[in-house]
């Protein structure tokens, strides 16, 4: 077991495209939960419709990539309205139930046999990234970066664009939350009734933020489709949402850079524990574990992390503890 190479690989993944994509999706979740207190347990559903918006437009209808992005965003808008209209007037837990159920049902429908002409069923879609790689200023065969932190040209391009989008979104979130609109949003998190008594239409504000966060999530899904050049429905399982929650809580909910820091720390931790476990496994320390068990143990570890974080350090790395002591009304 080479601890240095495990550390290096973990660091590489902390800056890699996947971390950037998760950071983007977590920014959407931060808008929902961190600033507004909406319990969205189905962020992966937004990512899925975004990714399939790109996938179906590009692979099935041969449309340009930008149209694919637009279709993905549109789907996310529709999904947010569909989820929000029945639940946002009700208590927070109804949104939680509806989102977690809807995300999984969408996945089941997209992978179903009758949808195969459009979605490719369980096999998914491929050849999605050509339109994106044409624009690549980096050379696909070269490696870029320093030391352990090097990526090939294609990944470098995805990485640059996605981290760029993360930066833009962080700026956007900062500006929004320092605007009068943002103050109302945070007010809803603190005390919905008080905001309502000031004559604000709480439902409309919640709807706006649900749509906005969903759009950011869908953008992350689009980038995922572009990064992998192929998508399968089974990569949008519910645990993706839970990863996003850990990312948000680890970084600090209600902070502009919380999701970014959280995504980096989370993927570092995931790869580090995975490398460590497998390293110990290959030294024969766990004779009772098979190959696939390591993944399961990791997911159990994510669950424990979620519990421990929310109970003992709800503010995460850079959050404000007082802001996080909110309650469902």
């Amino acid at each position: 077991m080479d601890i240095v190479s495990i550390l290096a690989e973990s660091t590489r993944s902390a800056f890699g495209p996947i971390a950037a994509i998760y950071a983007l999706a977590a920014i959407g979740l931060n808008l929902h939960f961190g600033y507004t207190g909406l319990l969205n347990f189905g962020q992966v559903g937004f990512m899925l419709v975004g990714a399939y918006g790109v996938g179906i437009s590009v692979a099935v209808f041969d449309l340009p990539l930008l149209v694919g992005f637009a279709v993905g965003m549109l789907c996310a808008l529709v999904l947010a309205l569909l989820l929000g209209i029945p639940t946002l007037r009700l208590r927070a837990d109804y949104l939680a139930i509806t989102t977690i159920a809807a995300a999984e049902v969408i996945r089941l429908v997209y992978r179903a046999g009758f949808a195969e002409p459009l979605t490719g069923g369980v096999y998914g879609l491929q050849n999605l990234a050509d339109g994106f790689r044409v624009l690549n200023p980096f050379d696909g065969g070269e490696r870029y970066g320093v030391g352990a932190l090097s990526y090939n040209g294609n990944h470098m391009w995805v990485l640059a664009v996605t981290w760029g989008l993360v930066a833009v979104m962080c700026g956007l979130v900062w500006m929004l939350m320092h605007s009068p609109w943002g103050r109302v949003i945070k007010g809803i998190r603190e005390d919905e009734e008080a905001v309502r008594s000031l004559g604000k239409n709480v439902f409309a504000y919640k709807m706006q933020i649900l749509v906005l966060g969903g759009l950011v999530g869908a953008l992350a899904g689009c980038m995922l489709a572009v990064y992998q050049a192929s998508i399968q429905p089974d990569q949008f399982k519910p645990q993706v949402t839970f990863f996003l929650w850990v990312i948000l809580l680890l970084g600090g909910a209600g902070r502009v850079f919380g999701p970014v820091l959280g995504a980096m720390a989370f993927w570092f931790l995931m790869n580090f524990t995975d490398g460590l476990l497998r390293g110990m496994g290959s030294m024969g320390w766990f004779p009772f574990l098979d190959g696939p068990d390591y993944g399961a143990i990791q997911l159990a570890f994510v669950g424990v992390l979620l519990v421990v974080l929310i109970v003992f350090r709800p503010q995460g790395l850079i959050g404000d503890r007082k802001e996080m002591l909110i309650n469902v009304k």
């Binding site: 240095v4 190479s5 550390l7 290096a8 690989e9 660091t11 902390a14 347990f41 209209i85 029945p86 009700l90 208590r91 109804y94 139930i97 509806t98 977690i100 159920a101 809807a102 999984e104 049902v105 089941l108 429908v109 046999g113 009758f114 490719g120 369980v122 998914g124 790689r133 696909g140 065969g141 320093v146 030391g147 352990a148 932190l149 090097s150 990944h155 192929s230 645990q239 929650w245 809580l249 720390a265 574990l289 098979d290 696939p292 068990d293 399961a296 143990i297 997911l299 159990a300 669950g303 424990v304 992390l305 519990v307 929310i310 109970v311 790395l317 850079i318 909110i326 309650n327 009304k329």
Partner: protein, 520 residues
């Protein structure tokens, strides 16, 4: 505190950045490769083993691969370029044939691999002679058809019976019967969810995984429990001892004695578990399925009560906010699901000996005896729970706490104890639901999560927090889900249940039996 953490993190990252050396080699291991998974067209969650693939570059053979037990294959490539993958038609089992598509022509596929790319290549199989696809597939597993575990309760006999039955009336009757069956199973599992919400105002997202737990435990003990089964039993005995001690002697013994007694019970359980685990297969034993079901229900009850006693009660006493509790329960769900996965594996199994049964004809419908038994058990349990809630002291207390926690507490009900009983009852019922569900379904580690979606629909339909609402809602959701397959594909079943739930939220958010003030 905050700055210190950030500093440590930053220091760590900078430290790694300045280490070049061996890291670079580790980095290169991800060279170019092609990979994919060949799935069984009759059951898309399973792969086909032993299919040979050869990769050519121009005319040269450069790599070969064979699919593993789960259908996965991978071929390492020397570098970027254009490759031709040829599937050995001889190695495909005779009941399947290669599916021709844009990518796969005449058993050959071309793939362009860029530098550093690990490209997936989709190769799909069809059932041989796909032209007459409508003909009933061969008996046994084949009839499980459409989409494996995702089309719940598309029970072999029920499905084929419904398809070949011909007339609409017959299919309607048959599907109503299976919908009723499905609904009863949902109702049994969902009562606990609703009662737990009623008493603690918390949605237990781990409830689905408690269902899986029950199904798995019953599978374990009915197929023969050796080392692992005995160890699990010992741990749960210890936990049960601790919870029961706490329940009965809370105010009668000095606190210190109680704590010592509880911890020694748990430790004793762990020690016993280790001993039994080491002894392994030498103390193997097996019970029939009904016996295993009883064990599963008891262990499910202990799991529920243990969670309440050692996780939820301390959290409530710390005044942890409800939103945080939801997230904790999501985390617990992940933990339970994947611990079950590690312990029992990702295999998909069925309860042996209950699969092939001659259906009993009852007028227009035909049901195998096991379905009749499942229905009977579910009805008896539902009536039993209703009687418990209606006529016994603890049942009345449960309804009182569910109605108004503060009022119940001020009228002298020991709310903590009632909550403990509710969790025990809920866990036991969830485990029973898992066993009943498993009789009609494939037992695997995600089955409970799928059922959870329907349970949510059921409790919202009936009214969150009301036990009777969960029963009514469960039946309605089961019927709607099953009857929708008359007109729509089976995979849409859950979508219809969800649609029903959303419709209910729009029209009457408090549910059929809920009171208006609840929703606020």
């Amino acid at each position: 505190m905050r700055t210190r953490l950030v500093t440590v993190l930053l220091a760590l990252i900078t430290a790694i950045l300045v280490i070049p050396g061996p890291a670079a080699t580790a980095d290169e291991q991800g060279g170019e490769s092609l990979h994919g998974r060949i799935l069984n067209p009759q059951d898309r969650d399973q792969g086909v083993e032993g299919i040979l693939l050869t990769v050519f570059e121009g005319g040269d053979e450069i790599a070969a691969a064979e699919t593993g037990p789960d259908g996965n294959w991978e071929a390492e490539l020397p570098g970027p370029g254009e490759y031709r993958v040829v599937v050995d038609q001889e190695s495909i089992p005779s009941e399947f044939a290669l599916r021709e598509s844009v990518i796969v022509v005449d058993g050959e596929a071309t793939a362009e691999v860029e530098a550093g790319d690990q490209r997936p290549l989709i190769i799909a199989l069809d059932v041989a002679g796909a032209a007459d696809e409508d003909s009933p597939s061969p008996s046994g597993e084949g009839a499980d058809g459409s989409d494996g575990g995702d089309a719940p309760a598309d029970d072999d006999s029920v499905e084929t019976g419904a398809d070949s039955g011909g007339s609409f009336g017959d299919r309607f009757a048959q599907l109503t019967a299976s919908g009723l069956l499905y609904g009863l199973v949902i109702a049994v599992s969902a009562i606990g969810l609703s009662l737990i919400f009623g008493t603690t105002k918390m949605i237990n997202f781990a409830h689905g995984d408690m269902v899986t737990f029950g199904a798995m435990i019953a599978l374990l003990f009915s197929t023969g429990a050796a080392g692992m089964g005995n160890s699990l039993l010992a741990i749960f005995l210890g936990l049960a001892g601790a919870v029961l001690l706490g329940g009965f002697f809370e105010d009668r013994l000095p606190r210190a004695t109680l704590v010592v007694a509880q911890w020694s019970a748990i430790l004793l359980g762990i020690v016993l578990a280790t001993v039994l685990g080491v002894m392994g297969d030498s103390v193997g034993w097996q019970v029939p399925l009904w016996g295993a079901a009883v064990i599963a229900v008891l262990m499910g009850g202990v799991l529920g009560a243990g969670m309440e006693r050692y996780i939820w009660r301390p959290l409530r006493h710390r005044n942890v906010a409800l939103i945080q509790m939801f997230i904790v329960s999501i985390g617990l769900a992940l933990v339970v699901r994947h611990v079950v996965l590690v312990l029992f594996g990702a295999g998909r199994e069925r309860y042996a000996g209950y699969q092939i049964q001659d259906p009993v004809d009852l007028g227009p419908i035909a049901l195998p005896p096991r379905d009749l038994v499942v229905m009977g058990v579910a009805v008896v349990v539902l009536v039993g729970v209703a009687c418990l809630l209606q006529f016994t002291r603890i049942g009345k207390a449960m309804r009182a706490v569910s109605d108004n926690r503060d009022l119940a507490e001020s009228s002298g009900i020991d709310v903590d104890r009632v909550t403990l009983y509710v969790w025990g009852l809920g866990g036991g019922l969830a485990a029973l639901g898992g066993v009943l569900y498993g009789l009609n379904q494939i037992v695997e580690y995600e089955m409970g999560f799928r059922l959870l979606l329907l349970m949510f629909a059921a409790v919202i339909l009936g009214g969150l927090g009301t036990a009777y609402g969960a029963m009514v809602g469960g039946l309605a959701v089961g019927l709607v889900a099953m009857l929708s397959t008359l007109w729509f594909p089976t995979q849409m079943m859950q979508a219809w249940a969800l649609a029903l739930m959303i419709l209910m939220l729009l029209v009457r958010p408090q549910g059929l039996l809920g009171r208006r003030e609840r929703v606020g």
